[in-house]
Structure formats: C-alpha cells, structure tokens
C-alpha cells in the first residue's frame, strides 16, 4: 500500500461501502427490452471498496494537490491570488445559498439587490454603461461580447461586410478562438520591438471590412499598450468596435478603466481579479460590460431597480441568454463581498501592490535571465530562458526544477512571441519574504544551469511523479482504465 494505487487496484470482489436492507421489489429485466447491442455483455468492473478505503484514497489524492493555500503560485495571466475566507462565509449565508432561481422576485430581494449592486460596481470598475453577470467565465464573456458585435452590425446592415477581428500576436489563445466561434475571421496583428501592438500594421489592416479589435491591456507580456487611444481612434474611424479582454485587469483597478481607454465591450474574470476561487476550485464568472450604444443587445434578463423593488428586466433586442438563471450566482456573491471589503482605495492598492511585486521580482531576476523588453512591467513580466538554452537547459526544465522547491511553475512558452518564455505574475497577496524566497530559488536554478545542469534536467526530484511522458500522452492517450486481464 503506497497510497498511489488507482481505486480500481484497491478493489476486492464483493466489498461494499454501504449496508442496505434487502430489497424485496422483484428485479426488472431491462435487457429483455433493449436491442442486443445496447445490453452489457460483462459487469462494468466498478471498484469495490469499503468506505474507509474510499476516504483514504481521496484524502491521499487531495494531499497531492497544490493550490495558492499550499504555496506560491505565480502563473502568469491567471492572477492566482488568495481567496479571502470572508467571501466563503458570506456566500454560505442561507439568504444566498438556500434560495432557488425560480423563487418569486419579492422573496429574494436581497439576492437581486446584490446582483444589482455588483452590476453597478462593475460599471464603475470598467467604465461601461451596462453589465451582464451571466457569462460563466472569460472565454464565454469574449464570445458573448462578439455576439453583441455581430448583432450591432446586423442592425446597422453591415454584418456581411464586417468580417475581420484583429488580434495581436501576443493575445490569449481564447481571443482568436472566440472570434472564430462567433463567426468572424481572425487577422493577426504583429507586435513591435517594444512588445506592444504595431500601430502602423493595425492602421494598414483597418478598413470597411473591420469588425473590431480584441486587446488585453496590459498585454500578456505585462506591458501597458500606451498607444491604446490611437488604436481606438483607428478602429472607430473605420466603424469597428473594441473589445477589452479583462484577464489582466488586476493591473489597472482604480488607475484607469477600459471605458476611458476607448473600449466598447469588456469582460472581467471575477475568478482572477476579484478573488473568487480559480482553476479546480471554480466555477468562474465572466461578467460583460458594454457602452450605452450596445446595451440593448446584452444577454437578457438584467437586474433592474424600479422604485424600491429589484426586478428582472427583459431586453427585446438582446442576443439571448448565454447561461441558465443568473450566471454563477455564488461566485458573484464572493466577488461582491471582496469589493465591499476592499473598497475603492483597497482595490487601487491591489493594482499598486501587484505592479510593485512584479517589478521587484523582475529587477531581482534581470541579472540572471534575459528580459526581452526593457520598460517597466505592470502586474506580470516575461523572462526568456535563451541564456540557459545555450547551456542545454530549457525553460521547461527550469519550470520542473521549481517544483522541487515547493513553488508552482510559472506559465511557460507563452506568449509565443518570446523564445523560451517564462511568464511570472506574483499578485498582490504575497509577502516580500515569499517574493525573495522565489527569487533566491530562481537565481539558484540559474547557477545550477551553469554548474550542475543535470540537476535541472532531471527535475523534479522530490515529487510523487517525475517527468511525465507528455508526448505519448498526447499522441496515444489512454482515457479509460483497463483491467490487466483485458490487455
């Protein structure tokens, strides 16, 4: 017994985790009614274990998990900040957790009020005029925003003509994917040597067939797109729209907002910027905000206030629903709790600390790793492992070696425009000691790459598993357990 067995391997025929009285209802012979090809020829082979075995198995698995409460998690563009526990307490209040979306509005006024207030607060954060809380996460927010683009052009009679969505070559992969799914053609815009959008290339590409531009600001290199006002002018002049990917909003809270920059549509990732659980702990929430001229197209219904009452407001020209009920309501409760506990000054400090932490780490690491862009970063920054590559140590090896020291690896090989890229986002919730410990380890790994490269190349050394065979897993995936005798 190592605790590493699959639950199938723990199985003993006849062992059960339940004890029920004998069922006296005669068995129904379903097989007699089904066509032969739908009838199971053998038992399904489910694991047979005791309740305690079952608990130990899953506890052992959960102990192998790593999250932001286990250690530093500097995953670039993912904003893995700490999720304050007060959010969890509030989300469990029966007034929020023991209600049903089909309840009459007058019996759930508190929940409606919360959603209304959150819509209002997010309007301030984004500089937009109307907000929907429906989208389940960032990519669904993008798709929602692009359907709004489409509807807007449809009503203007320009849908057939406006096909092109511009996406910079540093963009998140979800941007082009959402544009394609929404029925647009994607045109990639190159970055200049400063790591920001090449304005001349954008200008040359813009025309009467332009639907719009999708942009993350600061971008995935952690750099602020200082030409954003000019970009907005270029796109608006040809009749297109601007979409703000809010994945990096942690860098701008209270400092500037997408409305001020000239964007028409915005999504936020509440599970990044607004401290709701992320990754395996989700679900996410990706509210979408729009300027006045696009407000009629938002997913329906919105929460509105009529006198002292909160009501559901249907929008007749809406693109329709994008998610059941009210989106991920429990997540929205947590985000609202976060906004209230932080307050406007607190949110501003989030950005200031996030940016300070990123630049502090960048400065400490600069002598040991290549930094492709000289200017100050925002809340995240990229390093290039080019120097280490010449010694035979790749970025992947550095990432694996970090695991030995109890750190989660940063995002690697993204953005694609940086060779051997390492993308680090420390977030505002880490103490200086943690940032220093991480920097010390990165520097130690840089030394190892020079002096004892085999230590890095063979990492991780102290984890439950070593290097996984990613290639075979991708080329010949095994997605189902097969009993040894079936092999």
């Amino acid at each position: 017994m190592t605790g590493d067995e699959l639950i199938f391997e723990l199985s003993t025929p006849g062992r059960v985790a339940y004890s029920l009285p004998t069922d006296e209802t005669p068995l129904y012979d379903l097989a007699a009614e089904l066509p032969a090809h739908l009838v199971r020829q053998a038992e399904p082979g489910l694991p047979e274990v005791s309740e305690l075995q079952l608990m130990r198995h899953y506890t052992s698995l959960s102990n192998k998990n790593f999250g932001v409460e286990t250690g530093f998690y500097p995953l670039g563009s993912c904003t893995m900040k700490y999720n304050p526990k007060v959010n969890e307490v509030v989300a469990r209040y029966p007034g929020f957790s023991a209600i049903h979306p089909y309840q009459a509005a007058e019996t759930v006024q508190g929940a409606y009020e919360l959603m209304y207030n959150l819509q209002e607060d997010l309007k301030v954060v984004t500089g937009m005029d109307a907000i929907t809380l429906q989208p389940a996460a960032g990519a669904q927010g993008e798709w929602t925003g692009l359907l709004i683009f489409k509807k807007y052009f449809e009503e203007k009679g320009e849908r057939a003509q406006r096909k092109k969505i511009f996406v910079p070559d540093s963009a998140h992969g979800t941007n082009p994917a959402s544009a394609i799914i929404a029925g647009f053609d994607v045109v990639e815009i190159p970055s200049n040597e400063r790591g920001t959008v090449d304005l001349a290339a954008l200008k040359a590409a813009a025309g009467s067939d332009t639907a719009g531009l999708m942009l993350t600001n600061p971008n995935t290199l952690g750099l602020f797109e200082t030409d954003i006002v000019e970009m907005a002018e270029i796109i608006h002049e040809v009749g297109g729209l601007l979409y703000y990917d809010g994945a990096n909003a942690n860098a701008i809270l209270g400092k500037t907002d997408p409305g001020e920059m000239g964007f028409d549509v915005v999504h936020l990732n509440l599970h990044k910027t607004f401290s709701t659980p992320h990754g395996g702990g989700g679900p996410g929430s990706g509210p979408v905000g729009v300027k006045e001229h696009l407000a009629p197209y938002l997913p329906s219904p919105l929460i509105a206030k009529e006198g002292e009452q909160y009501v559901l407001k249907e929008l007749p020209r809406s693109i329709g629903r994008v998610k059941g009920y009210f989106g991920n309501f429990g997540v929205n409760v947590r985000a609202y709790a976060y906004i209230l506990t932080m307050g406007p000054d607190g949110l501003k400090q989030v950005s200031e600390s996030a940016v300070l932490h990123a630049n502090y780490l960048k400065k400490r690491l600069e002598p040991y790793f290549d930094t492709p862009y000289g200017q100050h970063s925002k809340h995240e920054f990229v390093l290039s492992g080019k120097r280490q590559k010449k010694l035979g140590v790749r970025t992947l090896d550095i990432a694996k070696r970090l695991l030995d020291f109890g750190f989660y690896a940063p995002t690697v090989y993204f953005p694609l425009i940086v060779e051997e890229c390492i993308m680090i986002e420390p977030t505002e919730t880490e103490a200086k000691e943690v940032l220093d410990a991480f920097a010390d380890v990165m520097i130690e790994i840089a030394h190892e790459a020079e002096e004892t490269p085999e230590v890095v190349l063979n990492a991780p050394h102290n984890k439950a598993v070593r290097r996984l065979d990613e290639v075979t897993a991708a080329r010949k995936p095994i997605v189902r357990y097969t009993k040894p005798e079936e092999n």
Partner: protein, 128 residues
C-alpha cells in the same frame, strides 16, 4: 527525400520543392519543427481544395502549442501526407522527407516570387 538545399522558404518557415513546373511539394522547416517541439497532431486540407498564398492551410500541434501553417503558394491541393494522421512524429524525425505536408498544383508555372533560397533562409533564421 527532399534536399533542403534546393528548397525555397517562406518567412513563416514553410518550404517548397519544385516537382514539375506547375507542381510543388510543401512542408515546414527543421527550424520550425525544432521551435515547436514534439508534434502530436497535424491537420491538413482536403485533396482538391484550393489554397491561397499566405493563407492558412492547416494546423500543427505540439506539446507546447498549436500553430497554423501558411501556404507559400496558391493552387489546388493535389495530395496530402495522410501518414501524418497516425504518425505526427514523422515531422520531428525528418521535416524534409516523410514529414512533408501537401502537394499543390499551381495554375501556371510556379514562380519563386518573394520566397528565399536555402542560403537566404539560413541567414534569416540566424537573425531571428
């Protein structure tokens, strides 16, 4: 096997080999494959479909990323390397031999246009 020294290259790292005056073979360079890492999936166009110069004609996916491949010529797809469906690793093994992607029939005689020679391409990637 294709001799890479007789190939012409695009800035997007595709190679072209002239088979007949209006018939070419297309693949991606060893440099591109090296950048991508272990390739796990290749998506190719349908035979008889049209490809446009500088437009996407397929996708190459590696453990690191998924990249579009852009056609260095315009014409009709005459043949695709269907062996890559089950054995994408052929691209890693030899991008210029069993790792070719498609053959294209061009409307007129193939013209080099802005494509680079092998020596020019070598200089180009050195400066990337």
């Amino acid at each position: 096997m294709t001799d890479k020294k007789v190939c012409l290259f695009s800035k997007d790292h595709e190679w072209v080999e002239l088979i007949e005056e209006d018939h070419v073979r297309v693949g991606i360079s060893d440099y591109a494959v090296e950048q991508l890492g272990d390739i796990v999936f290749v998506e190719l166009p349908e035979v008889d479909s049209e490809v446009l110069k500088e437009a996407e004609f397929g996708t190459v996916e590696s453990v690191k990323s998924s990249s579009e491949v852009y056609s260095p010529v315009s014409g009709t797809v005459a043949k695709v390397n269907s062996e890559l469906e089950d054995k994408p690793e052929l691209l890693n093994e030899d991008a210029f031999a069993q790792g070719w992607l498609m053959e294209v029939k061009t409307p007129g005689p193939f013209s080099k246009a802005d494509l680079m020679t092998y020596d020019e391409y070598e200089t180009y990637i050195e400066n990337l």
